[in-house]
Symmetry: C2
Subunit: 300 residues, 2 copies
């Protein structure tokens, strides 16, 4: 059995980086102290995001490595998407136990590249270290039109709130196999004035209040319309984490056209108006029991 | 006792990010899905680097948190320095046990900022997660003049090889308290045609062959001139890791002027010519017993 210990660090890094596809904007990729990438064209902002998946928390020891890698990359892509941006360059940090099989690392990278390659993301560096728990941490640099990008904080009173897809129950598998809504988010910011947007990673119960608070607002939702994954209650759809669907706010005047054009553009992906943003003091706290994911509080 | 579990993730993040200094180039810092930063001016390349410190490997449970944070930030700054670049924006990933005291995290950030603040590094985001081992992973975006930057691969046959400072024995404390050679590296690339440069993180024994190999060359060193830290043998100076000094190659014609101007500019920091680069087949393998740090092989 080949282990990361038996082949050594340099061989491991060479193995992981020797055939990475990179476009002409990468001036120096893996193998130097830093990755060097050409600056974006004028009119673009850079986007930086880092996110990690940790054994026991985001995946289990028996989770196939390919799905662990896929999830790690899909999570950061989802965040770049949530700004309306384009992912460009990634740094991959792997922390693995000494006895980790090389096959595990190979399959992990296979999963990372299942997401990265079709999007054209350059893996420009990273590092490997050993540790007592397996951790995959990915930093992603992207860019976005400086004229059209979606923060969480631009919501306006009266804005219609939409979510993509179905929510809840991702623990049954979707948390590993979800598709980041990159195409959809880019289409949205290009076609419509999106006031605020984010991806739903910790559950609507956590993330909707975050979007409202960032916009200096509260919200009213219609509890019965929340789109539920099969075999999920509305309570689960509200509180379960790791949906990685989009939550966004647009003017109510935009809502109807958006709904219509969405159906033409993405006929297979549900889009649901779940409520609207309201001024501070006018919001209604939903009656659900499920309060969303907290990285420290859950499982106490 | 306040723990990260008792205050919850959002409060922890607010605590860590509420008073971070940021310059006007940060368009959106912590609190959104991504950090947004203005693109660099023309004639600059972006630099991306990520690096982590892991409990039991890079620090011990009893290591003061401030020094852990300091080390985590100083390591990535050292890598940006090694290109001749300027650090700009950082993302901080903290993986901590559920029972970790908030004070630990506060002190950790204090250490991070001891390095970051004087340099003007913006901490533009990051994330916290729980895990079974404490990990601090930092991604740093920097930039560098596209006309004058130092890779590892530009060494030429006959180039003089220099190292800064003294090497070896960093485990006694320097691995936690070292000063990244940022000022020195920026001065070097500005004043001299530096053919190749890197920071010595895994020991000269590992890193010098890397620089030579990246340049398609081998090396000859004068073993007796390797600058040793006090109480260290030359063998230790050759093989011990975590010196974070600079190793660089310049034309032999440049070497004398460089040595002279260095003494005027940095009178308190030793600069030593340890040997030179030679064509493949002409190198001499040093006689040392110590073979440098490997993240997976060491301690087998």
């Amino acid at each position: 059995m080949q282990t990361v210990t038996s082949i050594g660090e340099d061989a491991l890094v060479r193995r992981l980086t020797s055939d990475l596809p990179q476009d002409e904007s990468v001036i120096a990729g893996p193998g130097d102290d830093c990755a060097v990438v050409a600056g974006p064209a004028n009119g673009r902002h850079l986007l930086m995001k880092t996110d990690s998946v940790v054994e026991h928390i985001h995946f289990l020891r028996e989770t196939p490595a390919r799905l662990v890698g896929r999830k790690a990359m899909a999570r950061v892509v989802s965040d770049i998407a949530a700004m309306g941006g384009q992912p460009r360059h990634a740094l991959i940090t792997l922390i693995v136990r000494r006895a980790t099989e090389v096959r595990f690392v190979d399959e992990l990278y296979q999963g990372i590249r299942e997401i990265a390659d079709p999007i054209g993301i350059n893996i420009v560096g990273g590092e490997t270290s050993r540790g007592d728990t397996t951790v995959v941490s990915i930093s992603l640099l992207g860019d976005v039109s400086s004229a059209r990008w979606a923060s969480r904080s631009g919501g306006k009173p009266g804005d219609a709130l939409f979510v993509t897809g179905c929510l809840g129950g991702s623990i049954k598998g979707k948390h590993l196999t979800f598709e980041p809504r990159l195409t959809e988010a880019q289409w949205l910011v290009k076609k419509f004035p999106v006031h605020a947007m984010m991806d739903i990673s910790d559950g609507l119960a956590k993330d909707l209040p975050r979007l409202a608070e960032a916009s200096g607002l509260e919200f009213i939702i219609e509890e019965s319309v929340i789109p539920c994954s099969s075999d999920c209650s509305t309570d689960q759809a509200w509180g379960d984490g790791e949906d990685y669907e989009l939550l966004f706010a647009v003017s109510p005047k935009t809502a109807e056209r958006l709904t219509r054009e969405w159906k033409d553009q993405f006929p297979d992906l549900l889009l649901t108006q779940i409520g609207h943003l309201v001024p501070i003091g006018s919001g209604v706290i939903p009656t659900f029991q499920n309060h969303g994911w907290d990285h420290f509080k859950r499982g106490a």
